[in-house]
């Protein structure tokens, strides 16, 4: 305040105060003891300053560690979609909002797919529930519940006959600039008070608007008599300012280094690249006697290049691997209610090949959806835009 302006007497609020010590504002006077006492108001100020500074960095939520290289390994690569043999999916949708659909899957000649499976899915704004039951009586179920827009609880169940049950509890918290995730796999507390199972905690924090760093800690104890295991993995992710390319890296505790790169080449073309280097120890045995004499570090690596083309009626994925594998996956919608799937893979080094063919039927469980599949609205008039079913 300049000295030329006369200070109106009686108005104490205009008087300069000692820096750091300020009279309580009206807001603070009205607050409770916790916000009005000087120590806590100082702490609140510090917190507010840090918060304001964090806001000023304009950081965004970096996404979860689970989705760290989702763009490459789940969207572009075909490992998630690949199957062998013949299969048919009969999906029946009953409603879109809340989403409710059932699905029957028949499969032949595949070593991992069951010959028949029935699954049902229900999802509304904060609940997602899905179950899958196959002819070998094994169940896999997922339940996600969103408490608010930041907190999601997840339960994953896997029960099959003759195999140990797997139950995973998970809690996801997405802050303004970080993501926190806590997981417990088959948690139990023995009578001696020892934790058994696997516990995983991970955090991914945005450092700049583009760059995020994170780490994941794993604690596991299979049996209470065995000593526990703990490990830490480090992850990083960089999204380009225009969001058109993403780099991510993971250094896992088991000695694997995974780097991936993704780029959106055109609105309907994406390309992805992933390199995995796995370091491990292999025992060496004596060439004469055959007894183990030591361990030798080995490093195995592979690099995969993949691309994805999306057209109006079809999706094509292709991949090329440094171990000599060439694969493709083609999905084409020939009718609004029928899609054809084809996938093939040739391993040039091992001289092997795999082939898969499939059909996907979409049927309607209600009048409204049947009309939508035929491009009509509920009254039988043509829809303006093509329905996305």
């Amino acid at each position: 305040m300049s000295s030329s302006t006369p200070l109106p007497l009686g108005d104490f609020s205009k008087i300069n105060t000692i820096p750091g010590v300020s009279p309580m504002t009206n807001e603070q006077k009205n607050g409770s003891f916790w916000s009005s006492n000087p120590i806590f108001s100082y702490l609140n100020d510090v917190y507010n300053n840090i918060h304001a500074h964090r806001q000023s960095l304009s950081l965004v939520n970096p996404g979860t560690i689970e989705n760290l290289n989702k763009e490459v390994s789940r969207d572009v690569f075909l490992t998630q979609y690949f199957f062998t043999g013949l299969r048919a999916d009969l999906n029946k949708a009953f409603a879109l909002n809340p989403a409710f659909q059932t699905s029957h899957t028949l499969s032949m000649g595949s070593p991992n797919l069951p010959s028949y499976a029935f699954s049902a899915l229900f999802a509304n704004d904060n609940l997602f529930m899905q179950g899958n039951f196959d002819n070998e009586m094994s169940l896999s179920g997922r339940l996600n519940y969103g408490w608010d827009k930041n907190n999601i609880s997840k339960v994953t169940l896997q029960i099959s006959q003759g195999q140990p049950t797997m139950c995973q509890l998970e809690q996801d918290y997405q802050g303004s600039d970080f993501s926190l995730n806590l997981k417990a796999l088959n948690p139990s507390v023995s009578t001696k008070g020892e934790f058994t199972g696997v516990a995983v905690g991970s955090i991914l924090q945005s450092v700049t608007p583009q760059f995020a760093l994170g780490l994941e800690a794993i604690y596991s104890r299979g049996q209470s008599t065995m000593p526990a295991d703990a490990a830490v993995s480090y992850v990083t992710r960089y999204v380009s300012p225009k969001q058109d390319w993403i780099f991510s890296g993971q250094l896992q505790a088991n000695g694997a280094l995974i780097t991936s790169f993704w780029r959106k080449v055109a609105p309907n073309v994406e390309a992805g690249l992933e390199t995995t280097l796995q370091a491990s120890m292999i025992p060496i045995s004596d060439p004469v006697i055959g007894t183990p004499i030591g361990v030798q570090p080995t490093i195995e690596g592979s690099t995969t290049l993949g691309c994805k083309y999306e057209y109006r009626q079809s999706v094509f994925r292709g991949s090329l691997d440094s171990n000599g594998k060439v694969g493709c996956f083609l999905e084409r919608k020939i009718l609004p209610t029928l899609s054809v799937l084809f996938c093939g893979e040739i391993d040039h080094f091992k001289q092997e090949s795999k082939l898969g063919c499939g059909l996907q039927f979409e049927t309607a469980g209600s009048e409204e959806l049947l009309m939508m599949q035929q491009g009509l609205d509920a009254n039988g008039n043509p829809l303006q835009a093509a329905p996305q079913i």
């Binding site: 390319w245 280097l277 290049l305």
Partner: protein
């Protein structure tokens, strides 16, 4: 050392390994190959060559 005094057949195959073959046995080889493949892949994806592979609709 000449092969005349060595055990025939035992030393000879080891000597045939060239420098490249020896290098292929070390753990540095897969690291080098995959790192260079990754760099080449990134360069390829970022290059105009990849842009040309996108269909002009």
């Amino acid at each position: 050392m000449s092969a005349r005094f060595g055990i025939p057949g035992a030393q000879a195959p080891a000597k045939k390994q060239s420098k490249l073959e020896q290098f292929r046995q070390t753990p540095a080889y897969p690291i080098l190959v995959n790192v260079s493949l990754f760099i080449a892949g990134v360069a390829f994806i970022q290059s105009p060559l990849m842009d040309m592979m996108a269909p002009q609709l």
